[in-house]
Amino acid sequence: MISRPSWARALAGTVIAFSLVAPVHAQDWPTRPIEDSVWSSAGGATDLVNRLMAKALEPHLGVKVNVVNRTGGGGAVAMNYVWSQPHNGNYWLGASEGMQTTAVMGFHTTKTKDWRWYMVAGAPGSLAVPVNSPFKTVDDFLAAAKASPGKVNVSHSALGSVWHLKGVALANATGTQLNLIPYEGSAPAMVAAMSGETAAVISSVSEQAEYIKGGRLRSLGLVEMTDQEFPGLGKLSGIGKAYPKLKDIPARQWVGFAVPGDVPADVVTKIDAAFDLAVKDPELKKIADDKLLTIFGTRGDASMKELQEMESALSWTLWDLKVGKVDPATLDIARP
């Protein structure tokens, strides 16, 4: 016979139900799979590196790391999702340098200091021209830009992206006026340079490598402070050596992941330990070399310091360009 559920029964049921989902003690963490929500779509560098890291982390964490793409809103969809889940270390954000501008762009209310950042890898930016371009050196290019201010077109990926800011930094440091034109991503930006719509493109060496090897693009130099050597491309010189003001906007491409800043300390210790081992994974290294990505393996205070500097510089630059939507002053982001 089925009896009517009474108050007592309901209460007992609730108690049992709660005891089943009661928070697991942090020293047992992780007890269930981790979900890593990548903010950008599958196929890009952020997605690729997160999937490789997930595989590399699994043996050290002892649980599966599931990578899912939660795209949209310039990262807002993934950030909203991860932020609204329990801050217990089970929900990660597949992140990149784009997260340092989400506050000033008004995409999300959290800032760099609210998260804990794990920087896995990145690639330097390069200024490239089509192979048949009259510009043979950076000086040719800059001379043309000085001769006709605002008339030399330079393509780059989305507005507010690291390559857009590299373009702004280049123009500021060299005292030129470049006509910076945003595209949906680096691929169409590079195609624009090849079709002659723009005179040059700024994107990562990693993205340009195939076109340079395929004889379509030619790199004039790195939009960075130092030279760097790449297999198959040779040594590329840093434009910042001749124009030191380039470092005023410390934008750097990086990909990796993040967890909310208030995740329990003993969980963080475990993630840190697994991270330090995983970035040495040979499979990760092999693919990173193949894609000309440099492995950073930066976390904790080191990444926080660098990324907060970056957030401050990028936020104010975007605000001054009237691209930013939220006044960095109201966000308590100090002007660099």
């Binding site: 779509s41 599958a42 196929g43 690729l48 899912v68 793409n69 939660r70 795209t71 949209g72 809103g73 310039g74 807002a76 969809v77 909203n80 762009m105 008004g106 995409f107 999300h108 605002g150 008339k151 077109n153 989305a158 507005l159 507010g160 006509n179 034109i181 945003p182 595209y183 949906e184 691929a187 195609v191 624009a192 090849m194 079709s195 002659g196 719509e197 723009t198 195939e210 076109y211 395929g214 379509r216 691209v323 939507k325």
Partner: protein, 508 residues
């Protein structure tokens, strides 16, 4: 230059894994195609998430198989129950169902199957021939050409899909263009029509819109007309193609194939338009146009050949320009991105093996489709006996899953329902939905293309008239806008009429 590599790939594709995946994909495609409400787009969309963990070439072969199978599968239900399984099969209903009622269902299905297989092979042959030219042409495309191309795609789709007035198609297309402006735009980062809703910041995803626009009206209509007494023909007779008859249709097959490839290559216009255009052309050139609609076998073969030839055509812009030629091709493009392939002008340089490989996949899909199609004809009769009250809830379920699975975002499910209702209302007023979807897909290209073109030309509009490709598109746009107008035709007659007569006179 692609042919040798193509033949090499045809042989290389024959591995147990690839063949079983291919047959699986084709069969799933045929089932999706045959079931009303489940489209080729949906088949490719669902498979692209399922195949995510497979190696790239195995995943792509499954998707191409499903694409070919689904475009073909529509004709089975079209012939047997007179309801096209996909919009591509709609043109086959007219004569195919009549033939089935005359007791020739088996023969009709078999002929249609052979027509589809031949069409697919015709399409891939043309694709291999045209591709090297398209690759060379691809770098001629700058922002202004993309803008004009997008406008042309929306206009031509609008005028071909509306039954009565082309303006109705254009209105739907402009509605789609308007919807595409939602979100943070690329040039200045300004939020348009987002009303502070974070989910809208990234713009309206087109997959839930496609699912909603094509599935929901079907479900609502199914519920409304749920008498369940569909006129069915379950007598099959022999299921074997009449090769002699097909041999006599050589010209018809070639013409329909050309129409299919041509329509497919135009971005955003798909298999349904190809089928109707070929049907129209066949009827016009026939000696006995009055027998069309009463059971003329040519009226089945023409649209089937064109619809499947369209696949080869639609893949050309996907691979060379990363611009989809039809809605299922748009899904295919997305799936390729998902697998790290970068279709576009650089594909032939970056991954030269991909183009002949896809042609080889298409070739085997055509073979697999012919085998499965003939074998499954009897089975599909059984499946189609299921009442709509069982099929339609399944359609609803799959649409919800399909919308959610892209981006794992529940908001997309709401979008799907919203756009489903909008599409239903539009269709009730006899506005075509296809231009709306195409407008949404191409809207970004039109908007950003124009503004970026002006930006890089430093605001100089006249420089666009110096670009030959841009002029060609402008002429095409003007023609699609005014080509039907009597005044323009008359003016053309006035202008060129005397010239032509003069020309003839001087020859004499």
């Amino acid at each position: 230059m692609y042919f040798i590599e193509f033949l090499h790939q045809v042989v290389a594709t024959v591995t147990p894994i690839k063949m079983s995946v291919l047959f699986g994909g084709v069969m799933l495609g045929i089932i999706f195609g045959a079931l009303p409400g489940l489209t080729a787009t949906l088949a490719v969309a669902l498979l692209s998430t399922v195949t995510f963990n497979l190696p790239t070439d195995v995943a792509i072969i499954a998707l191409i198989g499903a694409y070919v199978g689904a475009v073909y599968g529509g004709c089975q239900s079209a012939i047997l129950i007179g309801i096209p399984g996909t919009s591509a099969g709609a043109a086959s209903v007219r004569d195919g169902h009549q033939l089935a009622k005359q007791g020739r269902a088996g023969e009709t299905i078999a002929n249609a199957t052979m027509g589809s297989a031949l069409g697919t092979i015709f399409g891939l042959t043309m694709m291999l021939l045209v591709m090297p030219v398209m690759v060379a042409l691809a770098l001629q495309f700058t922002s202004i050409e993309f803008f004009l191309l997008a406008v042309f795609g929306v206009l031509i789709c609008g005028s071909l899909t509306s039954d009565d007035l082309p303006a109705k198609g254009w209105i739907a297309g402009i509605l789609g263009l308007a919807i595409s402006t939602v979100g943070i735009e690329t040039i200045q980062g300004y939020s348009r029509f987002t009303f502070g809703v974070p989910e809208l910041a990234g713009g309206i995803e087109f997959v839930p819109v496609i699912l909603g626009a094509f599935a929901i009206p079907q479900i609502i209509r199914g519920l409304r007309d749920s008498d369940g007494r569909l006129e069915r023909s379950t007598v099959l007779s022999k299921v074997w193609p009449d090769f002699k008859f097909l041999g006599r249709c050589k010209m018809l097959i070639a013409r329909s194939g050309l129409i299919g490839v041509g329509v497919g290559a135009i971005p955003g216009v798909g298999e349904d338009v190809a089928a109707w255009s070929a049907y129209d052309a066949t009827k016009r050139s026939a000696k006995d146009p009055e027998t069309f609609g009463r059971g003329n076998m040519r009226g089945v073969i023409a649209p089937e050949v064109a619809a499947n030839a369209c696949i080869g055509g639609a893949i050309v812009p996907v691979l060379t320009l990363a611009v989809p030629g039809s809605p299922p091709a748009a899904m295919l493009l997305g799936a390729m991105w998902l697998h790290g392939l970068r279709p576009g002008p650089m594909l032939a340089i970056e991954s030269p093996e991909v183009i002949p490989q896809i042609a080889a996949f298409l070739f085997w899909s055509a073979i697999a489709m012919a085998i499965c199609g003939l074998a499954m004809a009897r089975l599909s009769v059984l499946v189609l006996r299921l009442s709509p009250s069982i099929v339609l809830p399944m359609v609803a379920m799959i649409s919800i899953l399909g919308s959610y699975s892209l981006g794992l975002n529940i908001f997309n499910v709401y979008l799907m329902f919203g756009f489903g209702l909008l599409a239903f209302v539009l269709e009730e007023m006899e506005y075509p939905v296809a231009p709306l979807v195409i407008g949404l897909i191409l809207g970004q290209m039109a908007d950003i293309g124009l503004r970026r073109a002006l930006l890089s030309a430093h605001g100089d509009v006249f420089s666009f008239f110096e670009r030959p490709l841009a002029l060609v598109f402008m002429a095409l746009i003007l023609y699609s806008l005014f080509g039907r107008s009597r005044i323009v035709r008359h003016a053309f007659g006035m202008l060129f009429g005397p010239l032509r007569r003069k020309g003839k006179a001087s020859e004499v």
